[in-house]
Symmetry: C2
Subunit: 139 residues, 2 copies
DNA sequence: TAGTTGACTTAGACAATGTCTAATGTAGGA
DNA sequence: TCCTACATTAGACATTGTCTAAGTCAACTA
């Protein structure tokens, strides 16, 4: 994730211990933590980090396009560091597990002009729902 | 929306003034109110209706499959009475306006087996984002 | 029509998530 | 090293949603 830190520094970010820790916590694939989970893990490494800072830092990363907000359930927002490879999400309705997926096709092209109501459509978000292998097995 | 009321009665619902009012408020096309908005409009017709009843009633309508929950922004859930015609949503990122849309194609079929991670995939939710004609004009 | 009963409604406390502010601290340039 | 604008902090506050205990009433029965 030093990639991310480098990019942020390049954008004029002042580098602080707090921001470094938040960036480190978000490292990895299929990572989709809530702000609270990020905070909990950040506290483990830097006990005095505050909730407000985690929220601020996540918000800034989102504005810079380095992290994407995901709302798969209707609870807390989740933060996905995999912002530079466009993808969608597959969610287990039972345990909440989330995987990044890459459907074929282009859903944007599937929206006919007659269904655009004059909107300028720029983006599309697809959420697949189902049950993961674990939950199927234990059910 | 007496359709809805009839269906609910048919399912053994006790018919009360509160439930009638909630059903009436949800009547129409492209209706996507938050629970609070439903409550506000319900209060206009039946001043003593409580927040809890609105939440309960909406929750019950959702369980019965008569109303669909939509989360287009990350604020409150919205309630869509158009549950019997499957559709997706187009959202204005500026003013929050929401339209029901019917894309061609089947996004479910666009998810290859290799991208399913062993999940049993049963549903897909597509949210288009853009700017509505009004907001384009006034921007 | 009146009585009965369990489903329905209510107010308000509580919970979860997120935002804001004023005071304090500090990274990085001069 | 010092300075200053930017960053952090604690905690109050806001929004959205859930729960509970007590009271109310729709619809069935007779």
């Amino acid at each position: 994730m030093s990639d991310l830190l480098e990019r942020l520094r390049g954008r004029g970010w002042r580098m602080t211990a707090q921001r470094r820790v938040v960036a480190e916590v978000l490292d990895g694939d299929h990572v989709h933590l809530t702000a609270d989970e990020v905070h909990a893990r950040a506290v483990a490494r830097l006990p005095e980090i505050s909730r407000a800072t985690v929220y601020n830092t996540l918000g800034e990363m989102v504005s810079l396009g380095e992290v994407v907000e995901v709302s798969t359930d209707r609870r807390a927002k989740r933060y996905d560091p995999n912002a530079h490879r466009p993808h969608h999400h597959l969610v287990c309705g039972h345990c909440g597990a989330i995987r990044d997926v890459h459907p074929s096709g282009n859903p944007l092209a599937d929206l006919p002009d007659t269904e655009r109501f004059g909107f300028t459509v720029s983006d599309v978000e697809v959420t697949y729902r189902g049950v993961c292998p674990n939950c199927v097995a234990t059910a």
